[in-house]
Symmetry: C2
Subunit: 199 residues, 2 copies
């Protein structure tokens, strides 16, 4: 039905989350109609992001160098670490302007059913970091979902077994159960941060 | 909040139709997480489509050469032309497998309010083509919207003023197959009544 380059573009667009066949077709025709500047601007932005963005060596957040902007910021409290599943969660928490510590991005949540075990996440790196940097408190901000809660529990137990001085906390309720951090509004997320409790 | 390459990708994604700020962010993080193969595959597909796909010299449908596949197909009836607004409409009609003629893609619909006048569409080219190729019938398949109807009327008048032998038709308006009378809007139902046919 389509010339091969058009079909290929539709196939590639269909791989995006939430984009079905019809939407992919609509986006493809939009890109065909769009100016070269706009369409190639998107292609170039994708290429650039894959070339220049990697993971921070300290916290595994997105970084355009060896270390991310937050870890490089001396004003951020190195004794307070917020543990999240994904880099997008860092953005959500930064938007509240209520957290002045640093982050640790796990890269997902424990889910034995999907084959995600502790060694697939940056959990060992968190333990090392906590001991090395004399961390006072770890705020576990994994999603309030089954896998996120399981991950929080696993990490809380692991941290307690290693260090006795450490305070381990979890985001307070205020987030509806089953929701996703990425979609929480700033106020709710800010409240949850302020009301964090010992696990 | 974001490293510049990430921000740029979000900005470029926001230009897509139906993609707001949150969706653009979600898509950007998906591309960051995706394999290089998938993400760069999309970038390359966009680049290739802009480089290799142009408009057919005859019918202004999308083409990966000077002439599109339909115009190049000798089995398609050159005496029967279906006039549509956009290349995506060609795909919709091809899916029915009921049309064996050729197409003419206007590149939009007349809309004085948006500054789209007859000379902005491929209307003069349609008139030339009809006279040159000894066309028997022109099926006007612009959208059943205000602008689509105005365009159909304009073209029908133009064609009649030029050629007397030509049959000019319009897609039937009526109830969509599988629809319910109870939920049909008055305008559609009125059209269906006016266009009733002997069983």
């Amino acid at each position: 039905m389509y010339a091969p380059p058009v079909q290929r573009l539709i196939t590639e667009l269909s791989k995006l989350p939430g984009v079905g066949g019809r939407t992919a077709q609509r986006l493809a025709f939009h890109l065909l109609r769009a100016s070269d500047e706009d369409a190639l601007g998107l292609a170039e932005a994708i290429r650039e992001v894959k070339q220049r963005i990697g993971l921070c060596e300290v916290c595994f957040n997105l970084a355009d160098g060896p270390i991310c902007r937050i870890c490089a910021d001396e004003r951020r409290d190195a004794g307070l670490i917020c543990v999240v599943e994904e880099p997008s969660d860092v953005v959500s928490i930064e938007r509240t302007h209520e957290f002045l510590g640093r982050y640790h991005v796990l890269g997902g949540a424990l889910s034995p059913i999907d084959g995600v075990d502790p060694e697939d996440l940056k959990i060992a790196e968190l333990y090392e970091r906590v001991e090395r940097d004399e961390v006072r408190e770890v705020v576990i901000a994994t999603n309030p979902t089954t896998t996120g809660e399981a991950t929080a529990l696993h990490i809380a137990e692991g941290l307690r077994a290693r260090t006795s001085e450490l305070s381990v906390t979890r985001l307070a309720s205020g987030l509806p159960v089953g929701a996703d951090l990425e979609y929480a509004d700033e106020l709710t997320l800010g409240r949850a941060l302020a009301g964090r409790r010992a696990v």
